[in-house]
Amino acid sequence: METKNNLKIGVYVCNCGTNIAKIVDAVAVAEYAQTLPNVVLAKTYKYMCSNPGQEMIAQDIKENELDRVVVAACSPNMHERTFRAALRMAGLNQYLLEMANIREQCSWVHKDRREATKKAMALVHAAVLRVEKHEALESMAVDMSPNVLVIGGGIAGMTAALELADAGYFVHLVEKNNQLGGNIARIDLTAPYFYSARDLLTERISRTKSHKRIKVHLDSKVTDLSGFVGNFKANIYNLNGVPENEKEVEVQIGNVAICTGYQEFDASRITHFGYGKMPNVITSFELEKMLRAGKVETKEGKIPKYIAIIHCVGSRNKEFHTYCSRVCCMTALKYAHEIKSANPECYVSDVYIDMHAFGKGHEDFYRQSSQAKTLFLMYDKEHRPVIHKAGSKDDCEMIIEVHERLSGEHIEIPADMVVLMVGMEARDDAHEVAHLTNISQDKDGWFIESHPKLEPVATTTDGIFIAGTCVAPKDIPDTVAQARAAAARILARISRGKIEVDAVYSEVNVDLCSGCRFCNDLCPYNAIEFKEEEGLSHVISVLCKACGVCVASCPSSAIKGRHFTDHQVLAQIDGLFNNVDYELDEPVK
């Protein structure tokens, strides 16, 4: 493609305060840009991303009839959207913009002013040559199915489902077990206000079951998910109890909320706690069971005089999980209260690392537990307590040996029952869900949000949302808040009826495609489908993230990455290799 000679390009060099201008001679870069072909104006400004900066660009476009814009500033990750908006504001197609990253990839990483300025000039040159090749692209809109798939029938899943169904949309709720409720169904009271977990759940469960817009699939799992945001197809497979021909149903949905929750840490992995070997070393969930039954007693049927609660079992340790499971501290304090109120003669020792009482009412709860004469004993993260059987002369069943940090003493704690506060961990089958829905997991197996601060319930896959303890350990209020947030995000999309998709995606040239299907397997977003009847591969543009893998892999060069065409990239490379003559005004040291 020939360079158009009648283009009018505007170049804007940002100082970014001193971030850029301190190392890069922005004025020299602008002056240099001015000399390049087709550049009609080049300006510098303190903060180009500010409102006056954007308005300046928009005004220049209108007044000088610019048809291409280069902004030399930060990474496009940071402000490409901002400057695209400026172009739209001036009535110019937003894809006729190119950014030269002279901050992250230039001023921040270089110390030599002369070299940095030369590099900035080269980057601007490359951007100018590239932007000449840019084409005006149009974004697409696709229909949005109003149905939603919620995976997981715990407090998060039910809350999200109810929120969506109450708003008038149909929800498929898939639960692997034969009942709703999830992990909360296994606990007695909640901290710090002693609300009954059963009461919290009963209302949710009965409403979910009876809601006319919720179809609850118990004993079921999602075996396949295909399609893209707004137009997913999910296969729901019933694990037992139904005739073969009814086992699998296919549903049409627009969005998915994943609320698959957590599993408890397997305490037997820590051998010196003796879990599974010593009968009265139990996990927090086993104690919950006793509390729900209203009877805390040892396996021998005796009422324990000394109960020791060990915190951070499986959490905050390099060997297992380095993260904090967040709910165990308050749960442990809750146990101290419950045990004390059931049996005032019982002495509770809380063997902890640090007391994490960060939430609403938690610090007060900690204080109340102190008032209830709970003995707090602090141990070292690196030196876990060791539990062994007590001698015949002792008035207790077991002895916990630990180095106590606040007193500096090596101590023995008497115990008739030891409660291990097992932490939360990502479910063993979380990777199946991740694979199915094409979302990522972090090193601990938790699902990854698309932004940890600003997009806590969205994922990098459009239309797939995550909420609750499948994302990270959290307590009930946070889980419920996330479930409602995910529902709100989905509702916002459904209410628009359509969804806009970025115009940057790959396209298959049907004349060149040989149907080799190389690209089909390589696509990390499952965005390429093979059309059997035509024998050709086809990119589902709404799923495509424009990573370019298919473009590079195609042996017939049949795939074009829109906005990243060969012409554009080659022109950019040409610009980079232009030798720039530039000397500093002041001598180089």
Binding site: S349, Q371, K373, T374, L375, S407, E412, P414
Partner: protein, 385 residues
């Protein structure tokens, strides 16, 4: 060697007055504000921790509770309202009962009924004995000299007997204190000459209570009031005790006033009277932190002492004004209070008269011993067991 935690200790100690110990989360504010805490004696923080954990073996060997004079600043400062000052007080009570080999102190501290019953019982026995002795050998109309209801020679012997019993118990308990704190509690060798070198500490602290004064020096109002009053009370008490044990005959003789003895008695009475009134008033008004929580034994202590002082004064006045019958009856009542008071001494709060200066003395020896070991250079490596 691992040390056993005793979670039930806290319940035991609540009988001695420590109620809010478990609220403490070991921030250390109390030790920061305390003018007596130092690198070696890290109280109240360390004592609070030992108390929380029920490390009896550690507590029985510590001197820390005796180094605290309870100015109350730590309790005012405490962000958790764990009342470290009162906890130190309760540890002193616990230590008194720990040093006491008879178990009587423990009984008195844990049950106010038993203490009051014991006081009443001894008072009654004393009263009956004295009435019987007086009626059989003398006349109610004669106070001193020939045919006196309670002759001073008899009272002298009587006082010495009671005093000796008390002294024996106190001596044994003090030896036990020495054993716990200096033998069990110190793991480094303590050369015998350090006991001589630091001996001056004993009378110094006994007669000046200078640490109490230091305690108050950074307080807010009434700077030296508690110290001065307390010192007056203590000196008055010791003077009176000496007079009663050694000079009871000239003291009781009359009707003229023998200034050579009586001047001391009057001054002692002023100290005792102002002291007891001051402390009773404070315990009623609860105007300072240290008087907010009064253990039953504290009340028995001040009220009984006040009663003794009062009956002593009345008896003296009746004698000098010629109301001999009244003087004799008051004398019996006076002694009915004095005898249980004296017999109670080694088993009660009173014993701090001996334990506190001893603790200062022992602490000085310990410090000298540590210095000698050059352990003070690296204070981190010091662990006082």
């Amino acid at each position: 060697m691992a040390i056993r935690v005793n979670p039930s200790f806290i319940d035991d100690l609540s009988r001695y007055g420590a109620e809010d110990v478990q609220l403490c989360y070991q921030c250390g504010d109390c030790s920061t504000i305390c003018s007596h805490a130092d690198d070696i004696y890290k109280f109240p923080r360390k004592s609070m921790r030992q108390l929380q954990m029920g490390l009896e073996q550690r507590i029985e060997t510590t001197l820390e509770p005796w180094l605290c004079y309870y100015c109350g600043q730590c309790s005012e400062q405490c962000p958790r309202e764990a009342d470290p000052g009162e906890s130190m007080m309760s540890l002193r009570r616990w230590l008194i009962s720990k040093y006491d080999f008879t178990g009587i102190a423990r009984q008195f501290f844990k049950s106010k009924t038993s203490e009051i019953l014991a006081v009443i019982l001894i008072a009654l026995v004393t009263g009956i004995f004295l009435m019987f002795y007086g009626i059989s050998g003398g006349s109610i109309h004669i106070y001193d000299g020939e045919g006196a209801f309670l002759p001073s020679q008899f009272i002298h012997k009587f006082d010495l007997t009671i005093g000796s019993i008390m002294a024996i118990f106190l001596l044994i308990n003090s030896i036990r204190m020495w054993y716990f704190t200096m033998i069990k509690g110190v793991l480094i060798p303590v050369p015998w000459w350090l006991y001589l070198k630091e001996l001056y500490e004993l009378p110094l602290h006994f007669f000046t209570q200078k640490r109490y004064a230091e305690c108050e020096s950074n307080g807010k109002q009434h700077l030296h009031m508690p110290w001065l009053i307390h010192l007056g009370l203590m000196l008055g008490y010791v003077t009176m005790l000496l007079l009663v044990l050694v000079f009871v005959e000239p003291l009781q003789a009359g009707p003229e006033i023998r200034w050579s003895v009586h001047i001391f008695a009057y001054m002692a009475t002023i100290g005792l009277l102002s002291g007891t009134i001051y402390f009773i008033r404070n315990r009623f008004k609860k105007n300072y932190t240290q008087y907010k929580k009064s253990h039953s034994t504290d009340w028995v202590f001040v009220v009984l002492l006040f009663f003794i002082v009062l009956t002593g004064i009345f008896q003296h006045v009746f004698h000098r004004t010629g109301l001999y019958e009244w003087a004799n009856i008051t004398y019996v009542i006076h002694l009915m209070a004095v005898v249980p008071w004296l017999l109670r001494m080694p088993f009660s709060k009173w014993a701090h008269l001996a334990y506190r200066p001893l603790a200062m003395y022992f602490a000085a020896i310990q410090k000298a011993a540590y210095e000698r070991q050059e352990l003070l250079v690296d204070s981190v490596s010091i662990t006082i067991k």
